[in-house]
């Protein structure tokens, strides 16, 4: 029973990191009908930049802010420079594009940052909290991870649902043509949407790096797990994506705890394959026809 509790806390903590990635994927999917396979690689990149900042003696929090800001910029620039030209093209172009960005980022990262695995600092302790000699089975860093992702989600929710900027962004995503004839600068909204998604990815990168370490493909698995969560959630629903990703986190934690930690990544891929098989329409037909 105690073990179950430990695995559950672990699963939720990891699941929240996957959820940030899943939510980023859903935001980009809804705005531009593209699966951003480079989401993880972008996060790897911004995490390296944070590490450089921190290694130069800056406090963790400055590195944290720099990572998120860099994410915002990388996402926005990617949309503006690379995605915009393929937006009106067949979906396959966008797939190749996002795979291309993934490969590119993972190829230049070793040149810029070195290829070896690096440890990554935590802002607060990641050993379990003790109260009167008994362990609470959760570390301050795990609490920080869960809290940071929850706060990010809450802020995004408020921006999208409660501000006119959010209303513009939703309209641009739901129906770009109608948004344009209503005077909304759709291009800018999509750029911003990509930027916010990459910012969320950058957060995931910062939260994952202390446990998965930092190397050019360190986010590959996190991306697959986040992607699986997003697919389970139907790819259209932010809430579904978060729930799906936390579910994946829990499932992997139980597999790794009760069956064997070597099997956890395999377990993740197995879930993904099963989910994809249960969706015989395949990856390109998630977009239900929007009704006008």
């Amino acid at each position: 029973m105690h073990l179950f509790l430990i695995y559950t806390v672990d699963g939720i903590t990891n699941g929240m990191v996957y959820a940030a990635v899943a939510l980023a994927l859903v935001m980009i999917w809804r705005a531009t009908r593209i699966i951003n396979y480079a989401q993880g690689a972008m996060a790897m990149f911004t995490t390296y930049i944070a590490l450089i900042v921190i290694r130069h003696g800056a406090p963790y929090w400055l590195g944290f802010v720099v990572a998120l800001a860099t994410g915002l910029v990388i996402g926005a620039v990617t949309e503006r420079v690379l995605v915009r030209p393929v937006e009106s093209r067949p979906p396959l172009n966008a797939v190749i594009l996002s795979l291309g960005v993934l490969i590119l980022l993972e190829a230049i990262a070793p040149m810029l940052f070195g290829g070896q695995t690096q440890s990554f600092p935590v802002p607060v302790s990641n050993t379990d909290l003790l109260v009167g000699g008994t362990s609470l089975d959760i570390s301050p860093f795990a609490l920080f991870t869960i809290g940071a992702v929850l706060i990010a989600m809450l802020l995004l929710f408020l921006v999208f649902q409660r501000t006119t900027l959010g209303l513009r962004m939703r309209a641009a995503a739901f129906n770009p043509e109608i948004a344009r004839i209503l005077g909304i600068r759709v291009g800018r909204m999509l750029t911003l949407g990509w930027g916010l998604a990459a910012l969320l990815g950058a957060l995931a990168g910062m939260l994952a790096a202390p446990s998965v370490y930092l190397y050019p493909s360190n986010m590959d698995e996190v991306l697959v797990f986040g992607f699986t969560g997003a697919i389970i959630g139907g790819l259209e629903s932010p809430v579904g994506a978060v729930a799906g990703a936390v579910g994946v986190g829990l499932a992997l934690s139980y597999v790794s705890g009760y069956v064997g930690s070597d099997l956890a990544p395999l377990g993740g891929f197995a879930i993904l394959i099963v989910v994809l098989m249960l969706r015989p329409q395949g990856l390109f037909s998630f977009g239900r026809q929007r009704q006008v």
Partner: protein, 235 residues
């Protein structure tokens, strides 16, 4: 004044509009009639900037619209009620209305404009928090027109607003529209297949056929002349 001159539009190599000229004075309604595929939707989408013409000009007052983006054209005062309503069904009625004037700086007047839209179409008020996907056809049409009005346009393009509406409701909506046109000095381009209802509210009428202007006349004269009506409008 909305003035279209010599407008030619092609899809690939296929001409959809050929040297179309027409003008819509302030405070008046010009009906554009024509059969399926005549080019009516192409005309309003070109005015809105959604389609780039091969050549020709579209002037709104002193501003050339050709070459500008749809968002810029909307901001210059062109309201477009697209074919099939074009409401955003994932958003609520109120959000749809707010969308209409989001680009405007004057937030206070924006709220006034939304209030006016609810006064114009009272059925929308009780449905304000409802997702637009739950609206009836008539409510959708009201929402689409109301939303265009929130931006306080000087020109209004209506693409088959009668589609899917019961006659009584259509007459009601048209009546409110006519009142608005004189009050706000709107230039309205009213696209219709249903010539009878369009002619009853329009000042002038243009008949499009295979992308060309086939006939242009005062609406009352066209409606009253049996021979013309039979020949061009088939009723």
């Amino acid at each position: 004044m909305l003035e279209i001159s010599d407008l030619t539009v092609a899809y690939g190599g296929v001409i959809a509009l050929e040297n179309v000229s027409l003008s819509v004075p302030e405070g008046s309604i010009t009906a554009v009639l024509g059969a399926n595929g005549a080019g009516k939707t192409t005309l309003v989408r070109t005015i809105s900037g959604l389609i780039k013409p091969r050549h020709g000009s579209v002037m709104l007052g002193t501003q050339q619209l050709v070459g500008r983006s749809p968002e810029a054209i909307a901001r210059l005062g062109v309201g477009h009620v697209p074919e099939g309503h074009g409401i955003v069904s994932e958003l609520t009625v109120d959000e749809n209305l707010r969308l209409g004037g989001l680009w405007r700086r004057d937030r206070a007047d924006q709220r006034v404009a939304i209030e006016e839209a609810y006064e114009l179409f009272p059925p929308l008020r009780v449905r304000r928090a409802v997702h637009a996907s739950n609206l009836s056809g008539g409510e959708r049409q009201m929402l689409s027109i109301g939303r265009a009005m929130v931006a306080r346009p000087t020109a209004l393009l209506l693409d088959e607003p009668s589609l899917g509406l019961a006659g009584g409701l259509l007459a009601q909506i048209m009546q409110r529209l006519v009142a608005l046109v004189t009050e706000r000095k709107l230039s309205v381009l009213l696209i219709e297949q249903n010539a009878r209802s369009a002619l009853s509210v329009a000042d002038q009428a243009v008949v499009l056929s295979l992308g060309k202007v086939e006939l242009r006349d005062r609406a009352d004269r066209l409606a009253g002349d049996d021979a013309l009506r039979h020949a061009y409008l088939g009723f």
